[in-house]
Amino acid sequence: MKVAVFGESDLDEEAVRILVDGILGKQTQSVDFRLRARGWPAVKDNLPAVLTHLHYRTDAEALVVIADSDDSPLHQADHEQPGNVNSECRLCGLLVAIGQTLNRLAPVPGRATIKIAAGIAIPAIEAWFLCGSDPRASEAAWLQGGASMRGADFRKKLKRTLYGEDFAPQAIRIRRVREEALRLTQDLSLLESYFPNGFGPLAHAIRGW
């Protein structure tokens, strides 16, 4: 299965692809090039261009979109009820962009609609990879932590814990997220239970493919 991953960094792609393969129980293929965006606004703003490109000009079967929540509100199931979209919620932002783009795309003969899964890491993707080994790494802890778990400093602490230092070389970062992603694929229910609103919808959508 050919799956494109669209995120903010190559770390996202490395790690998310392992998780996707774990959820599907098979190895996926990547598209011919790597998709990147310059930070959160660019993920949302360029998602329509990426999806349009994949639909018309590639044989990609699926797209996974991933972003960090930073300090934005946690996605809630009721956001998906008609009229309840939360404009500050990043997962809502992605789902709206996906819906609007899919409505616009004309059918291409012989091409099935691209399967899409979106996820938001709360507050940053490093939290997912600390899941089960660091008590701060869960949506519940983040909600209860209040101001102490908001801001760039907290996200830096998570990165320091995962990578061992503030300025770890990229090779070490990639090795660490690979190791942790492989650990998590042994029992994905752990990630789903600790991150039900950010990882849960991603896993649910992928299982529906």
């Binding site: 790597r34 998709l35 349009t52």
Partner: protein, 335 residues
């Protein structure tokens, strides 16, 4: 005007064609052949100076196709003509293509003059700032050296243009209001910029890299007799992103003189960039953007406007951002 350049076995450009407009902006990853394409244009007007063994694509030298060929497909006023040069172990041959023979002598002379006036620039701040000896008919060198001489000449020979250049400089870099000169040694010139507040004189060597780049680009744009083709490497280098529209305007002044009340022939401009911010400015002119892609068969050039579904893909997005995502190509393959 050159409508396209066809390459055979020229360094990384093994078999590809670069489509051109009056203004063309090439984007692509490092090592994708953008600079090589510009060098090729210079090579065609200095065919005798090219060392065949240094320019033939690696691996082609001992193949059946052991030659290098660059062909210009021409537009107005040479519509339908082509001009090609071939290099091989045996030497240089050409021009060898197209209905050049049908051209009258006047047109051939004109073409020959236009080809000689192709210039490639990759500006360097130190070279721009350096004092220069005063010699007649001085022109900018590829790295921007001789700027003081060129400006001194412009002041003496076309005062109106020199004043217009001062005005444009004041809009671009509002802290300055005038270009001045000094004579560090007899027979030499160097540049000073005068500050608007306080009328202080700042030596070129004390100016920022961006200010010097801006001055060199503006000078090019205000030359009374600019080159026929200007190839410019990274005109955004050292320039603040908010000033990139001024860069675009300076280059458009060369390419579209009629829009700037200039009474001279258009200059064909070919620029390269890695800046998504500069690229953003060409959102409405995808025909002016060429994507350079590294492939297993060598570099391939593609005009952005010719990509399928490009209008739908760009839609409401910033062109630079969409390019950065990778969906347009022209990005490093491994990152």
């Amino acid at each position: 005007m050159i409508k396209s350049v066809q390459f055979k076995n020229f360094k990384a450009l093994r078999d590809t064609t670069l489509p051109l407009e009056r203004f063309t902006l090439i984007v692509g990853p490092n090592g994708s052949g953008k600079s090589t394409a510009l060098q090729a244009l210079r090579a065609i007007s200095n065919a005798g100076e090219i060392d065949f063994n240094r320019v033939i694509t690696t691996g082609q030298r001992f193949s059946a196709e052991n030659f290098v060929e660059i062909t210009l497909h021409l537009g107005w006023p040479y519509e339908g003509s082509a001009y090609g040069i071939r290099w091989s172990e045996a030497g240089v041959s050409g021009p060898h293509k197209g209905p050049l023979a049908a051209m009258d002598q006047e047109a051939r002379n004109l073409l020959s003059r236009d080809l000689e006036r192709i210039r490639i620039y990759s500006f360097d701040a130190q070279a721009i700032a350096a004092p220069v000896p005063l010699v007649p008919n001085v022109e900018l060198t590829p790295n921007g050296h001789n700027l003081a001489g060129v400006l001194d000449q412009l002041r003496d020979q076309d005062h109106e243009r020199f004043e217009a250049l001062n005005e444009a400089l004041g809009l671009w870099l509002p802290e300055f209001d005038r270009i001045l000169f000094e004579t560090p040694q007899p027979g030499t010139r160097s540049i000073l910029l005068r500050t608007r507040r306080g009328q202080h004189k700042i030596a070129a060597t004390d100016l920022s890299q961006g200010s010097l780049m801006a001055l060199a680009m503006l000078t090019l744009a205000y030359l009374p007799n600019p080159p026929s083709v200007v190839c410019l490497e990274e005109p955004d280098r050292g320039i603040h992103p908010r000033l990139l529209r001024d860069v675009q305007e300076a280059l458009y002044r060369l390419s579209f003189p009629e829009s700037y009340s200039e009474e001279r022939e258009p200059v064909q401009v070919i620029a390269t960039t890695h800046s998504p911010y500069l690229l953003d400015l060409y959102r409405d002119h995808p025909e002016q953007v060429v994507i350079a892609n590294k492939t297993e068969e060598g570099t391939k050039f593609e005009r952005l406007s010719e990509q399928p579904y490009i209008e739908e893909i760009l839609r409401d997005s910033h062109l630079g951002d969409v390019w950065y995502t990778g969906v347009l190509g022209g990005v490093p393959a491994h990152l």
